[in-house]
């Protein structure tokens, strides 16, 4: 067998007890890894007390790698985290690349399960066999860049190989509801606010140093697959585009079809838009590239602003989502200010999609007279006011003044602001929608609606398939020509969820870098690395079960059919441009989807369906 490190770390922060337990290989075979492990372990931990505040010692936090994490192939650096979301109150998870997951595997562990809460700030130190909680009071309050550098340096001498740091910043400490976790300054487990979970638990960071090796079950076969893929990667224009410009390459492509939300989802094109695009990035902020562990795609780009009000030192640059959120969504054409907002988010540890969208929402409220500069502490939240946007990011991070209201997330902020502010929301289940417009691709609408963690473009592979980056000929729903409009999107969503759970939640492939893989290659890679003999049917089945598990957990935490709807800002047709007049037919898609998935009118998976999926514990929790 290969791929797995073979051990899981269990940390009880309340008692300080640490246990290392061997990974059960039967469990591994059945759940593959990543969220496949995480969700199952989460359910096991909460089933005796299923109702609790996300910001309480009862909320478990689970970090899991997949069998591919750290295997050395392209696009396999990713790993997952999950917990109950402080932002939404539902199931929360995030998927992230960088170097932490691979290093954790090399130290000998597939994942970390954290329960309880510490009284005083701590960090977890993992150095091969040595695992211990240590006092973090010296690091508490430090921003992500500072604590990353400090821990790396302070512990560098303890291992021949440099360690990796996963940390929260002051936003997580301050309980910002969309605080995140960051590895190596720019790789964020971004969505659903799990940084606040750490903040509550007084867990500042995990430092992992490891000198081991990852066993590959069939190295020769893996090598042959690597050669096969090399030719495919060399030919892929999609890979070529993210290699050259990173995810911001989408700014030039997405604008053609109306994929990019502008002015809080009220426009699909804008005369100043190119000021945010790859050419402008290259001219104004680009400062070289970076990569995740062992990945030759190397889509990560650095940014630097040498002078002016938005000066930043060289560091991880803004991704596509960040540029759309702080730029297009706020009608802000100043790319340097976007780089600055990105840096503040990275330093303080905040999700850029939620932060940017929440500010766009606040600007919408301000411009429509629901807020005045008196409410905002003198900050003129106007469209395109770059200085105000950047100032507000910092206020949010510090949970200060009006920032403290926005730090609750836009959905709760709308309740606080009142006066019908919710009409400017872009959230589903409390999570701000990502920067891809369902009016351009209706399947995205259904994907946002039914995603267990709230509006999300990576909770399945709908974005990749309907958006065009992926094509999986072995699965007809992921290969057939899609009719225009909303037709066939329920079938598309179901297949993209099942395959996506396997692909980017369990295995774990990177949705961007692994886009060129077909299903045969993806399953082969998993088998070569693990030595298991999965078939496509099997991984689809495992994926399906995980989807029901996540959906069921979100239902358990209170989500119902009404929470599967899109907000008005996403459902208002454009009067011009490429998506003119188009809105997703949510009723039609949801109806078909509920039927395909066996959901009742409340949006819950039927009890029989859960039992069929071998989710008896979940069925008991929901139905008894």
């Amino acid at each position: 067998m290969g791929g797995y490190a073979g051990n899981l770390i269990y940390v009880d922060l309340t008692t300080g007890r640490i246990e290392v337990k061997p990974l059960d290989m039967g469990f591994a075979r059945e759940n593959i890894g990543g969220l496949g492990f995480g969700a199952q372990i989460f359910l096991e931990l909460i089933k005796d007390k299923p109702h609790f505040d996300p910001l309480s010692a009862d909320n478990p936090f689970i970090l899991m790698t997949g069998p591919l994490t750290g295997c050395g192939m392209d696009a396999t650096a990713r790993w997952t985290v999950c917990s109950k979301s402080p932002l939404t109150g539902y199931w929360g998870d995030a998927n992230v690349g960088g170097h932490f997951g691979a290093r954790l595997k090399l130290a000998g562990y597939d994942g970390i399960v954290i329960t309880g809460a510490a009284q005083q700030p701590v960090y977890l130190s993992i150095n091969d066999q040595q695992v211990e909680l240590r006092d973090a009071s010296a690091y508490w309050g430090q921003d992500v860049y500072t604590v990353t550098d400090a821990l790396t340096k302070d512990l560098r001498a303890d291992s021949p190989k440099p360690g990796q740091v996963l940390a929260i910043g002051p936003a997580g400490e301050n309980g910002v509801r969309f605080a995140n976790l960051i590895n190596k300054k720019g790789h964020a487990a971004g969505r659903t606010g799990l940084g606040a979970v750490w903040g509550f638990k007084k867990l500042k960071a995990i430092h992992v140093a490891g000198t081991g090796k990852l066993r590959i079950a069939h190295p020769a076969k893996l090598k042959a697959l690597r050669s096969e893929l090399k030719a495919i990667y060399a030919e892929s224009i999609y890979i070529g585009s993210i290699q050259s410009a990173g995810t911001p390459a989408h700014l030039d492509v997405g604008i053609i079809t109306g994929d990019i939300p502008i002015k809080n989802w009220q426009m699909s094109d804008w005369e100043d838009f190119d000021a945010l695009g790859p050419a402008s990035i290259e001219e104004k902020i680009h400062a070289g590239g970076r990569t995740c562990h062992a990945c030759t795609v190397a889509c990560k780009k650095n940014a630097e602003v040498k002078e002016g009000p938005f000066k930043i030192e060289k560091g991880p640059g803004p991704e596509y989502e960040t540029i759309a959120a702080f730029g297009a969504m706020c009608l802000n054409a100043d790319i340097e200010s976007v780089a600055k907002a990105n840096e503040i988010c990275n330093r303080y540890g905040m999700d850029t999609i939620s932060c940017g969208s929440t500010i766009a929402f606040a600007i919408d409220c301000f411009e429509n007279g629901l807020l005045s500069s008196e409410d905002t502490g003198g900050i003129e939240l106007r469209w395109g006011n770059a200085a105000a946007i950047v100032a507000m990011v910092e206020k949010i991070a510090k949970n200060e003044g009006f920032g403290a209201i926005l730090a609750e997330g836009s959905a709760k902020a709308a309740e606080i602001i009142g006066k019908g502010a919710s009409r400017y929301l872009t959230t589903v289940k409390g999570l701000e929608a990502p920067m891809h417009d369902p009016r351009n691709a209706h399947g995205f609408g259904l994907a946002y609606g039914v995603s267990p963690r709230g509006a999300c473009h990576e909770a399945s592979l709908v974005f990749e398939v309907e958006g065009g980056a992926m094509y999986v000929p072995e699965l007809p729903a992921l290969a057939d020509e899609l009719p225009e409009g909303s037709e066939g999107r329920a079938e598309l969503n179901v297949a993209c969820q099942d395959y996506g759970m396997f692909f980017s939640h369990c295995a774990i492939f990177c949705n961007l870098g692994a886009a060129p893989l077909n299903a045969t290659q993806a399953v082969a890679m998993l088998n070569h690395v693990t030595g298991f003999n999965y078939t496509l049917e099997e991984v689809m089945k495992i994926g399906r079960r995980l989807w029901y598990l996540k959906r069921g957990l979100t239902n358990l935490f209170g989500a119902r059919a009404k929470d599967d709807r899109l907000p008005a800002r996403l459902m208002t047709p454009m009067s011009e441009g490429p998506t003119e007049g188009s809105i997703p037919d949510m009723e039609r898609m949801l109806k078909a989807f509920y039927k395909l998935r066996g959901l009742n009118e409340d949006g819950l998976p039927r009890e029989s369906v859960l039992r069929e999926q071998n989710l008896a514990d979940l069925a008991d929790l929901i139905y008894t």
């Binding site: 340096k153 560098r156 001498a157 303890d158 021949p160 190989k161 000198t211 081991g212």
Partner: protein, 391 residues
């Protein structure tokens, strides 16, 4: 494959123990003399390290006839002459050196004139100039690096001619080496790291050198293993006496190893860097070791590959090339760990070497005496590439 012929000669008695410096006098009985002249430096004296030695010797009925503390950073001809004169004048019959490489080498060289008279440079420069044993010579090292307490060489700086003189003779080997971790406890992190890396350089270079033998290889391997186990610990926490002891033993073994098989191009480069820029010997060697290993890669890779597991690398499934690369990487990693403790620079640039001196360093390295023992011919032009890489 075994060498066609080799010999191993190791008359020095080595003793190890915590607190041993106050309690080793009984071992002197068999040397037959009672009156010793003590050589050290002001730093060692200032740390109070001499007092327990004085007391132990006095208790056992030995007499210290005089003490000398003015050994400069690089042992000079002048110091050597003063030591031999003062020792003789004091009525001593033997020498005790307490210190690092300079003190030991100064006393070692002084023993030539102290025992046999004559002129240091004119009569003893070079190798094998002696025909009979010198007077009793005891060494107590206060650094864990040079291993000079266990070698047959002394390096003396000729201030007048700005050259380093090499003396090599089997009769230079000390009679007794006393290894006591309490003596290195006060060594600051920077010196701990650089002297330790010097020992690693001795071990690695002797292991791959042309004159390596099964005996020297065994000592080199044991030294490398200890250094990888203990150097970071000793640098990080000077009071870690186990680590201090492990490093003393490692340096001693590495000294013996290189005393038998000599060193190679790292030392050639190190000597050049030290001669031209005054970067301390250990620091220069530390920085240059991985680069020297790269230089010798093709001819030494089988040996590097054999060292990789000794350095803690899991080599299962690795080819010879991969394992050899992993060994070099392990040395780099060790250097970086020490660097993280602010104990040593990783690049020549950070050691204060001016960029324009690189060609001169390469030239000098290609002419250094140690290159005859390097497994690959040393060409200035090619060594320059590696010196540049180290910058």
């Amino acid at each position: 494959m075994l060498p066609e012929y080799y010999q191993f000669h190791h008359p020095t008695k080595v003793m190890y123990g915590e607190g041993l410096v106050g309690d080793f006098a009984h071992e002197l009985e068999e040397l037959g003399v009672k009156n010793y002249f003590l050589v050290s430096d002001h730093v060692v004296d200032g740390l109070g390290l001499i007092q327990p030695i004085r007391e132990g010797l006095a208790e056992a009925g030995f007499r210290i006839t005089g003490e000398f503390y003015d050994v400069p950073q690089d042992a000079s001809v002048e110091a050597v002459e003063s030591i031999s004169r003062q020792a003789k004048d004091s009525g001593a019959e033997g020498l005790i050196a307490v210190g690092g490489g300079s003190v030991i080498d100064a006393a070692k060289a002084a023993n030539f004139i102290f025992s046999e008279g004559g002129d240091l440079i004119a009569d003893y420069s070079g190798a094998a100039t002696l025909v009979r044993p010198l007077k009793p010579f005891i060494v107590i090292p206060t650094t864990a690096g040079t291993g000079s307490e266990n070698t047959l060489v002394a390096v003396i700086y000729d201030v007048a001619n700005k050259t380093k003189l090499l003396f090599s003779d089997k009769f230079l080997l000390p009679d007794l080496a006393v290894l006591d971790p309490l003596m290195t406890r006060s060594l600051p992190p920077g010196l701990t790291a650089s002297t330790g890396m010097d020992a690693l350089t001795h071990a690695v270079e002797s292991y791959v050198g042309v004159d390596a033998s099964p005996h020297s290889e065994a000592l080199a391997v044991a030294a490398i293993k200890n250094i990888f186990q203990y150097l970071v610990r000793a640098t990080k926490n000077g009071d870690d006496l186990e680590a201090r002891g492990g490093m003393l033993i490692a340096a001693n073994m590495a000294g013996s190893a290189f005393s038998h098989s000599m060193v190679g191009c790292v030392h050639a480069m190190g000597h050049a860097v030290g001669g031209l820029t005054r970067v301390p010997h250990g620091v220069a060697n530390a920085i240059l070791l991985p680069h020297g290993m790269e230089y010798n890669f093709e001819v030494s890779k089988e040996k590097y590959a054999a060292l990789a597991p000794v350095m803690g690398v899991d080599t299962t499934g690795m080819s010879v090339d991969e394992a050899a690369r992993a060994a070099i990487a392990a040395v780099r990693d060790l250097l970086r760990q020490l660097n993280a403790l602010d104990a040593i620079p990783v690049r020549l640039k950070d050691a204060g070497v001016p960029h324009e001196s690189l060609p001169a360093i390469a030239e000098a390295a290609a002419e250094d005496g140690t290159i005859v023992y390097n497994p690959r011919e040393v060409e200035a032009e090619e060594i320059l590439i590696h010196v540049r890489n180290a910058y």
